[in-house]
Amino acid sequence: MNERELLGLADDELIIGWRDSEWTGIAPLLEEDVAFSSIAQNEIGHARALYELLSDDADALAFDRSLDEYRCAPLVELKLLDWAHTIARRWLYEVADEIRISALKESLPLAVKIDREETYHRMHAEMWHERLRNAPQFREAVEELWPYALGLLPAGEQRDALVSRVGLAHVEAVERGTHTDGLPEIWDEMTMVRRSAPAGAQW
């Protein structure tokens, strides 16, 4: 993975962590609220660790770029206000993420650490998938998000692996490289406090 791709991975983790942290306090069950928030925090922690590989100032890299400089995939940007879609995305993301993190483990020690923590994310996602797989809301959400999930991984071997694990047919992917309406909205909120003070202000 080159630097550009690493940045994409970091941005994916930041934005999905950001989206998942939106559920803190309003998840369907209190017990799940606590668990889900840990997952969101872990994702942001992974993003931070990846940014630190690429820059001395992880915060500047995370927050001070312009919109078109973010390399996240459309899947993570989507504003999903209901649980079916949120947990469907979580599941698809973990299945896809495992594929790309495994591929990275040999060349990147950080990927080994990330993978160990992701074990619990995968258990959590599988647990929900098992329980909701027959619920129409969940199945529909998975199908809706499927083209986005494909776009998370590069075309070829990794994408084929995803198709085989999820069991849905290959369709046209929503590719990385363009952004959805979700990102400007996130960026605005994510940077509003930071932009209210001159660059270099301490918080």
Partner: protein, 93 residues
């Protein structure tokens, strides 16, 4: 279903009751108890048991003097003193 959570602070310590989570099965109970009782690394292990599996015992018959089974049922000071005096082994106090 209510699952009772017992946690161990560090290796070798006793498992202590920490609270409970509501969950449909062991998988969910585990996922949720892990975070509620371990997200700060404060537990090295958890035991989860359905509340129904816990048999509560909280009443005792206390009719007769059972002190002979306990340390506070023995007062050896006076006899020990006498025995030492007889043996000439009583030291200065």
């Amino acid at each position: 279903m209510i699952w009772e959570v017992f946690r161990q602070d560090r290796r070798g310590a006793p498992f202590e009751h920490a609270g409970s989570v509501v969950a449909p099965d062991a998988e969910f109970a585990e996922a949720w108890a892990r975070e509620q009782y371990g997200r700060r690394g404060e537990s090295v292990a958890l035991w989860l048991a359905p509340r129904d599996a816990v048999h509560v015992v909280d009443d005792w018959a206390d009719e007769f003097d059972l002190k002979y089974r306990r340390v506070d049922g023995y007062s050896i000071k006076a006899r020990l003193k006498e025995a030492r005096e007889r043996a000439g082994t009583a030291g200065p106090r």
